[in-house]
Assembly symmetry: C2
Homo-oligomer: 310 residues x 2
């Protein structure tokens, strides 16, 4: 296997890295600002790839991690809220044509799952569930050593499983999704609504409230902040119970900023999960761990995708 | 590939059939009563297999469909409510030893999914979701041409996904599962409870009420019976929306007695599904069909399992 370029299309930065075979340390790495709402994102992407293109020209593939929705089977970005000018956009085909190498595309959560399985916390496992709890909730599943992608390439949109049909409205506009309970913005929204209904808190009720500020307040004993994280953890436990019943993994890996708060979220998560799993065997030898790849999950996932696809 | 024996361990009958390569019509077939609560189920099973064993002795494998929970990786039946004397029982290993051929075991819902994919309604699809709506609710998933089994072999227990955390108690003892809303007994239970709260109906409030009787009443215009099936369909739609978001199949196949009632269940199912799917692309080219294999789903699934495992 030859040299691979991995690309991570993030909300703030476009990153590209060049990897030699069997080495997860890139031999070169570049990034530029995405400026997602300004024209020219695709041109900036081409430029950042060119900036690390090796002189010997020996690149066998480009792996691409991008926010979805997208179609991994065709390399098209679908109608997406993130980068306005990419609507049904042939990202993979365009890059393939320009650089004359095969490209492989999937969404950032699927590729973080793939990266963690191949190089990170899930290494050695055959059945992996990855969840990222952040501004949104995303997920990816490795089932019997294969990435679960689905017919349209839209499998494992795990932030959008319905955990309570009468629950709050999700960022996607539909009711009761996991993301509407356990994402950072959902935690903030719950706090602001409870304040509106008269709940007392040390936190200021303003538009700048963040999940991080709520976490700090909780650590200092604020009851509302504590209950907000407890609720997020409880619904996360309900969802993960359903994911165990659906996918039966040997490891659950958590990534994303909100999952960094520790017991604040995970005490109620574990209690809820234990209460909801309907057969004790699901928990036998089940590992629950934090993601190991950090900010490089997208790049390493894109690398892994190119490696398994070639 | 040589001759395969497929076995279906049902609640009322033990069935065994002998199949030649590339032929889904068995060359011989036998069945005996299971008598699940009486001793000797295993002996009866050995005997029914022996009764169709070919004189030339050329059997390459035995495929086994059984109610779960079970471990397809080891061939053990776990602690199960169905056959009392099989508690952590080495069904596969015992049969392998006795007949001196490899055995392959999985649960009846997974194997109905596999059978429908290989020989039935899902033929030609790569990503299949199968659901059986009957006394219980079971499911199976084919993802990218592979049966989703999971680490413990307990994946796709789709009757036990949580569709409403505050919902009714399931037969398994846990709250709010799909089976507690949409199975035959759940439909009956809802009717009886509504009657207890004073709902009027043409149906008699007694212990012999069945989902079939409720369906007949609904067809004759009984408002309570209609609402019971409508509710079952609504929650089925919520669950299938979550299954699309999780597995993204190209076909959803329905089996089991309750799914035979037609529009009574499926009108509200389709409305609910359409309302809950969070991206229209999941429904593009999605087929929703009835199972094609009928009572032979278990046998043909066991045959398919042996074929893909050899």
């Amino acid at each position: 296997m030859g040299t691979i370029i991995a690309v991570d299309i993030g909300g703030t930065h476009l990153r590209a890295a060049l990897y030699e075979p069997d080495n997860t340390k890139p031999i070169s790495h570049q990034r530029v600002e995405t400026r997602a709402n300004e024209p020219g994102v695709y041109d900036r992407l081409e430029a950042v790839i060119e900036s690390i293109w090796p002189k010997n020209n020996e690149v066998v593939a480009i792996g691409l991690a991008s926010p979805g929705p997208l179609d991994p089977h065709t390399g098209y970005i679908l109608k997406t809220p993130n980068i306005k000018e990419w609507q049904n956009f042939p990202l993979g085909p365009n890059l393939s044509k320009h650089f004359n190498v095969p490209t492989f595309l999937d969404n950032d959560a699927n590729l973080a799952a793939l990266g963690e399985w191949k190089f990170g916390a899930g290494s050695g496992h055959h059945d992996v569930l990855y969840l990222t709890i952040s501004t949104g909730v995303g997920g990816g599943v490795i089932a019997n050593d294969a990435l679960l992608q689905g017919y349209h390439g839209l499998a494992t949109e795990l932030g959008h499983v319905i955990v309570d049909p009468d629950g709050p409205i999700c960022s996607c506009g539909f009711a009761g999704h996991l993301e509407a309970f356990s994402s950072g913005p959902a935690i903030v929204k719950y706090v602001l609504e409870e304040m509106e209904f008269g709940a007392r808190s040390s936190m200021k009720r303003d538009a700048n409230l963040t999940a991080r500020v709520v976490a700090d307040a909780a650590i200092h004993g604020d009851a509302l902040a504590i209950s907000a994280y407890r609720r997020a953890g409880e619904y996360l436990g309900i969802a993960v119970a359903t994911f165990l019943h659906a996918f039966d993994p040997s490891i659950v890996i958590f990534g994303g900023g909100v999952s960094q708060v520790g017991p604040l979220l995970f005490d109620s998560f574990h209690a809820s999960l234990k209460k909801r799993v309907f057969h004790p065997r699901y928990l036998e030898n089940l590992k629950i761990e934090m993601a190991a790849l950090g900010d490089d999950a997208g790049l390493l996932g894109a690398l892994a995708l190119a490696e398994i696809s070639l």
